[in-house]
């Protein structure tokens, strides 16, 4: 019996090893380490949720979809002008009609022709309630999408919609291949018109892209791009140092000194569109008291905080930041400057030192840091402030349901348009959703609506300037700083195009 057992065991052993060998060979293909290979690996701290621009709304997923899909228009980061990408031009025969002419001869990566039908298909899908697209609101003002001819699509709105083209530059408004979307799940198997196409998912979560040789412009130089998930940013930096990863973005201020010391790494920074600010819950005492908000504004040493960011933040007192459409430098002087003596005085005079205030923050590093510093500064001014940190998901819910007194918030603003900051964040229509502070001011509402419903861009700028100054005097929010996009890349990687939104394109990138 013993002998038969041994035989049986050996047989099984051989069999399993053979099986194990087969099953895992598939995933261990390219580990060639030649520097000359046109391959780059990017490290992200959270996983890629999915690869459909319609169904995702997180920055990590967009960093991948940016390479695969393209939008009709894009914002030139040098001139801040909106230019055509898949579209040739846009015309307004009347303020409610947008006639968009598309470029000719563009094909999706699956060979489907890019035309007006594809645009209509994509936009209809985003707007369809059954799709449950997270950014359906982006195209909400559009009433109908008509195909005039294969090269022309007509968008009709009920009211004039000024930021229309800005909305169309948003990465969630990128055009997908209708044929592919009907056939497969774009979350796993994406097809766009972009310079890179999806190749494989490795190790269950790393996304691998390869060059799209038939790209409608000159083909990209990189042959392969890997998006690798590395949850701890310190580990990611170590990987960058040892060459296992070639670049990463959103370097934190805490890690910047370490990254700067690395000989093999270059850091690129670009003043960006995100704004970080302190929001008041306007439905609660004493936050609805203008004196209290003033006291907080005097108490916050935002300048001191921005210094701690080591160049990864821009100090500006304007809510509409310097990189946004609608910024006006003259508004800077309208804001309250740090003055701790004045803060103490107001706090004392109004008895603000008696009430316990909760400062709510999401438990991600950036927000926690802000909360920690401002809690200390407000305590210094004599207020009683307690920090409450929540996981991201719980934070979103708590902030939208108004379960806070103060909260540190941010808005990344991918469209780069001031209306797209003021409307979601401060318009009364969005109170209790994106307008977490539940600020309701008919005067501001009107200015925001005018900035949206005017098609003349110069006129829009005027409305935005007025709206911004109203915000600075009424203080439903206190701007703290404006984000700086950053990329830390190995010396051998060149030509990554970093945009003010923090997104980047690898189209022109190459390795030396």
């Amino acid at each position: 019996m013993n002998r038969s057992l041994t035989k049986w065991l050996t047989l099984l052993l051989i069999l399993t090893f053979a099986l194990a060998g087969c099953s895992s060979n598939s995933s261990s293909g390219g580990s060639a380490k030649g520097v000359s290979a046109q391959e780059v690996t990017y490290a992200t701290t959270s996983k890629v949720v999915g690869l459909s621009p319609i169904l995702t709304n997180d920055s990590v997923s967009s960093s991948v979809t940016e390479q695969i899909y393209e939008t009709l228009f894009y914002r030139d980061s040098k001139t801040n002008e909106i230019k055509g990408l898949l579209a040739e031009k846009a015309e307004n025969p009347d303020p409610n009609t947008w006639v968009i002419t598309l470029k000719k001869g563009i094909e999706f990566q699956d060979g489907t022709e890019f035309n007006a039908e594809a645009v209509k298909y994509t936009f209809d899908k985003i707007k369809d309630p059954k799709t449950a697209a997270p950014r359906a609101s982006l195209l909400e003002p559009i009433q109908s999408i008509e195909v005039k001819d294969p090269q022309t699509v007509i968008l009709k709105t009920e009211k004039p919609y000024g930021p229309m083209l800005a909305a169309l530059t948003h990465s969630n408004a990128a055009i997908v291949s209708p044929a592919a979307d009907k056939k497969q799940d774009l979350m796993k198997d994406p097809v766009g018109t972009g310079p890179f196409k999806f190749k494989a998912k490795e190790n269950g979560e790393d996304i691998v892209l390869e060059a799209n040789k038939d790209y409608w412009q000159e083909a990209p130089k990189l042959k392969k791009v890997t998006f690798k998930v590395v949850p701890e940013i310190t580990t990611a930096v170590s990987m960058l140092q040892t060459g296992k990863v070639n670049f990463l973005d959103n370097v934190t201020a805490e890690l910047l000194p370490r990254v700067e010391k690395l000989n093999n790494v270059n850091i690129e920074k670009k003043a960006g569109t995100p704004v970080y600010y302190l929001a008041f819950n306007m439905e609660k005492e004493p936050m609805n008291n203008p004196e209290f908000r003033k006291a907080v504004a005097y108490a916050l040493d935002t300048e001191g905080y921005v210094k701690k960011l080591r160049g990864l933040g821009v100090k500006s007192s304007s809510f509409i930041g310097p990189e946004l459409f609608g910024y006006d430098k003259s508004s800077e002087d309208k804001a309250i400057k740090f003055d701790s003596a004045k803060a103490k005085e107001i706090v004392k005079a109004n008895g603000f030192d008696k009430q316990q205030i909760t400062l709510l923050a999401a438990n991600t590093a950036g927000y926690m840091n802000m909360a920690e510093v401002f809690q200390a500064q407000l305590s210094e001014a004599g207020m009683k402030v307690k920090i409450e940190t929540l996981e991201w998901g719980t934070y979103l819910e708590a902030s939208q349901n108004g379960k806070f007194d103060l909260t540190v918030a941010g808005w990344s603003n991918v469209t780069g348009d001031g209306s797209e900051l003021l409307f979601p964040r401060l318009h009364s229509k969005n109170a209790g959703a994106t307008n977490v502070g539940r600020y309701k001011n008919p005067e501001l509402d009107k200015l925001i609506e005018q900035s949206r419903s005017t098609v003349d861009q110069n006129e829009r700028k005027q409305y935005l300037k007025q709206a911004n100054e109203l915000v600075l005097s009424d203080l439903p929010v206190i701007p703290i700083y404006h984000g700086v996009a950053s990329i830390a890349a190995d010396n051998s990687v060149n030509g990554i195009n970093l945009e003010p939104t923090g997104q980047w394109s690898l189209y022109k990138a190459e390795r030396k």
Binding site: L5, S23, N57, A136, P231, T235, K244, G393, L396, A398
Partner: protein, 335 residues
């Protein structure tokens, strides 16, 4: 994967041949218990995820989504149905082998788990190997050189070993061995474990995770060895003139294995917990990390699936431990 399946399977096979019906009864009983246990666990996890604040639709929508956007996503995820209906739908699916789809990534839960599970299992097994090798060696030497300086030092070091926070140890190991000395890669588990590259990737995380268990095993195998050394039959063997080495190896080791196996069984839950942190620090794409991410994203189906997998594993490991007992020590019965 198939390697482990083979190990477990052949173990069952061997024990069955040895123990016969009684063992079969034990296995069947345990399996029935497992089903009940899983039902209980799934219910608790399901309810607690629904009670917990934080709305999955809100997370998918992100801060930029409007109320209408979020309502649409909720409806789409089927979250508007009564909780019990959702639970029974889920259980119905599970019985048919369908663990549902991730809310967040829309991938199939069973596929997602299966793609990550081998990484976690390799990490856990590697750390057990590290723990057993270090622990048993230290334990045996301490017992043989009882009351020597080595014994004292080993005791202190092993107690210190249990006391190190493993995320701290991991960070420091990366700093020294991966970044400064560059002996091992910083993180990731991408190559198969039998290749040199794969082993190199496993070493630092395995040490990080295995230190605590190594210390525990060292302590237990030391006392077990001491007991055995004094036992009569070892004295007899010595008196009969059997060489010291073979006395230690044959008689003692076999008996000292039992506490070691106990520790492995007891520690397995602890180890799986430890993988959560180790995977996080070393960027290993395993079930533990999937679990943290899914809890944070309120990805209910994914959390459910992962918890059920871990619980099943825990019960199976304990069953295997019991079977191994029988294999090593024929005196143990299964009543």
């Amino acid at each position: 994967m198939s390697f482990y399946c083979f190990l477990v399977f052949s173990l069952f096979r061997i024990t069955l041949e040895k123990g016969g019906r009684k063992l079969l009864g034990l296995i069947i009983r345990r399996m029935l218990q497992l089903v009940l246990l899983l039902l209980g666990i799934s219910f608790i996890v399901f309810m607690s995820m629904h009670i917990a604040p934080g709305d999955p639709a809100n997370i998918i929508g992100g801060p930029t989504a409007t109320k209408e956007d979020i309502a649409g996503i909720r409806e789409n995820l089927g979250l508007n149905k009564p909780i019990l209906v959702q639970y029974f739908d889920y259980i119905k699916g599970v019985i048919q082998g369908d663990f549902g789809f991730s809310f967040q990534t829309k991938e199939s839960v069973s596929e997602a788990l299966m793609s990550r599970f081998p990484n976690t299992l390799n990490l856990a097994v590697a750390s057990i190997i590290v723990a057993v090798v270090i622990g048993v060696t230290a334990g045996i030497i301490s017992a043989l050189k009882h009351n020597s300086w080595f014994d004292g030092a080993a005791t202190v070091i092993s107690l210190a070993g249990i006391s190190i926070p493993n995320f701290w140890l991991g960070a420091i190991l990366i700093l020294i061995f991966a970044v400064n000395l560059q002996w091992f890669p910083v993180g990731g588990l991408t190559e198969p474990f039998w290749t040199i590259e794969g082993m190199k990737q496993l070493i630092l995380p395995a040490i990080t995770l295995g230190t605590g268990s190594a210390a525990m095993i060292a302590r237990m195998s030391r006392s077990a060895m001491l007991e055995v050394i004094r036992a009569d039959y070892v004295r007899t063997a010595r008196a009969k003139g059997v060489k010291e080495k073979s006395v230690v190896l044959i008689h003692c080791l076999r008996n000292a294995m039992i506490p070691v196996i106990t520790v492995i069984g007891l520690n397995f839950g602890f180890l799986l917990g430890g993988t959560i942190i180790t995977e996080q620090v070393f960027a290993i794409n395993g079930v533990g990390r999937l679990m943290i991410e899914s809890i944070a994203a309120r990805d209910f189906p994914m959390v459910q699936g992962a918890v059920l997998l871990v619980a099943t594993l825990f019960v199976l490991v304990n069953l295997v431990v019991d079977l191994v007992y029988a294999f090593i020590d024929p005196r143990i019965s299964f009543d």
